[in-house]
Amino acid sequence: MTVVAAPGKQLKPARILLGALVALLFAFFMAPFAMVVLNSSKTSREIIYNAIALPESWGQLLTNVRLIFTNPTVDYLGAFWDSTVITFLSLVVIVLFSSMCAWVLVRSKSVWSAVLFMAFVAAMVIPFQVLMYPLVRWMRVIGDALNFRLLGTVRGIVFAYLGFGCPLSIFIFHGFIKNIPYELEESATIDGCSQGRTFFLVVFPLLKPIIVTVLILNGIWIWNDYLLPLLVLGSNGVVQTIPIAVTAFAGAYLKQWDLILTSTLIAMLPIIVLYLFAQRYIIKGMVEGAIK
């Protein structure tokens, strides 16, 4: 692992200095989390008096958590569930449909497949701001026309995430599938596999490493996304995601920091726990996603 790295034969004081510097840097990266935990365990009064003192009683953390989960206006538990469902379903459809699409685009050497691929790649430049308001209006129009409501529903936002997530995912799958030897698929065909079965039986299992990448890239984005759910689901809709619940909380309580910080703590906990368990995959996936 130590490929490059620090000076070889170093003097002791220099090493200590470097160590201190690294420790300081690490403290800077971790301090905000400490701040959140510390102040999530205080009452509003304690925070107003002194934001950096230790809490009078750590038990307050549980009280704050309970206050948040039992709050009548912001259904935090519901938002938690909705965020989980939305993220999970979106990831499933993105991985499934993007890989299918990318495979066809790689393997068929026609003009339209090249054009489609270019369209997906080019669309990544479009900032969300250009289409967010028209999108809402358009979703309402087709929802009314087909009597199939997209706005304010789980299916609507999952559909939107498929649309917004597929360009990058197709791009990543495309790059990976290009390097899978075609012979594998040919031999499957000789064995009598149909096109569909060839994909699911032969190609799809080979995609496992890159699927991890696509899952992680899209997962972090969708879990934390704010604007798209805000527009599609609304800030006070039946279906809510965690970032919306956090802002609703901050708005409804006029900066009651004890509750806001506790709600941020609850929002980040699952993703950090997940990260600590699946760290190796996540880091590998992120790097591959970026370099592609």
Partner: protein, 295 residues
């Protein structure tokens, strides 16, 4: 292989359909609405040509938002990349616990912009002020977020905190792709540490620098979530003799224009953002082309 046209179409259909419905069609409408008097509620929409654009480049708040977005992006490119390069050197070095450090530096990236905006707002407005009071440090007693001259620097610091761990991973991957023998040979030849970094390591990582540069560039240019919850556009400052919000980046300017029922104007601003990003993308393509030629 027996290739059925119908199966192929079925395979691409879900993505193409979702893509068309969510991106292509709204994008087309978006371009069209930027040339209308759409206000978001009224169903009668009239075409007004380029009227919405004409006003933009004489309106101080928009020019300012555009300029500070550029400045904010420039600061980020330098700050994020410098910090993450430094971090990548640390975690690929011989220091103990480097895997632990690498994991720790990456954690902020997992936190969404909305959530971390609140956290840092609390740190700047409450925690640091409290530190300043208890230690009687005057410089800390007024919040950094209330200083119009430096607020985008503060935002860049927060952004660096979030992104450095991620960009670090890219550099780490690049460093690990360099043959160890190369560095060892240089060390044997007596090249000192900085020389090895600047003369051997950095040139070999050119590709990683390009990737990171454009990644930082586009994400900074589109920054919204953290802007909204960290500063809410504040404090105020003066520009072209007009009081405006000192930290309102482009994306937030679009958002607040739309919330004041000026949808068409917001749409026009978004089109300007789009054009700016197209220019950036073309630059990136050109940079990649150039690299391929060099190789």
């Amino acid at each position: 292989m027996r290739r059925h046209r119908l199966v192929s179409i079925l395979f691409v259909a879900p993505c193409v359909f979702a893509f068309a419905m969510n991106i292509l069609i709204p994008f087309g409408f978006g371009l069209y609405y930027s040339m209308t008097d759409w206000n978001g509620v009224n169903p009668d929409i009239n075409f007004v040509g380029f009227d919405n654009f004409a006003g933009l480049f004489s309106s101080p708040d928009f020019i300012y938002s555009f300029l500070i977005t550029v400045a904010y992006t420039a600061i980020n490119i330098v700050l994020v990349n410098a910090v993450s390069f430094g971090l990548s050197l640390i975690v690929t070095g011989r220091i103990r616990g480097r895997n632990f450090l690498r994991a720790g530096f990456f954690i902020p990236y997992l936190i969404g912009g909305i959530v971390l905006g609140y956290i840092w707002q609390f740190i700047f407005n409450n925690a640091l002020v409290a530190v300043g009071k208890s230690l009687s440090i005057a410089a800390l007693q007024t919040s950094f977020l209330s200083r119009p001259g430096s607020v985008i620097w503060i935002m860049a610091v927060v952004n660096t905190w979030q992104y450095a761990g991620y960009i670090m991973l890219i550099y780490v991957a690049a460093i690990q792709g360099i043959p160890a023998s190369l560095m060892e040979a240089a060390e044997v030849d007596g090249a000192n540490y900085p020389t090895r970094i600047f003369k051997i390591l950095m040139p070999m990582m050119a590709n990683a620098f390009t990737i990171s540069l454009f990644l930082t560039l586009t994400t900074s240019f589109k920054q919204f979530d953290m802007n909204l919850t960290l500063t809410n556009g504040g404090p105020a400052t003066r520009f072209m003799d007009t009081p405006i919000k000192a930290s309102q980046l482009l994306a937030m300017n679009i958002f607040s224009t739309a919330t004041a029922n000026r949808m068409a104007e917001a749409q026009a601003k978004a089109v300007v953002l789009f054009v700016a990003l197209v220019v950036v993308a073309l630059l990136q393509v050109a940079a990649n082309k150039k690299k391929e030629v060099e190789l």
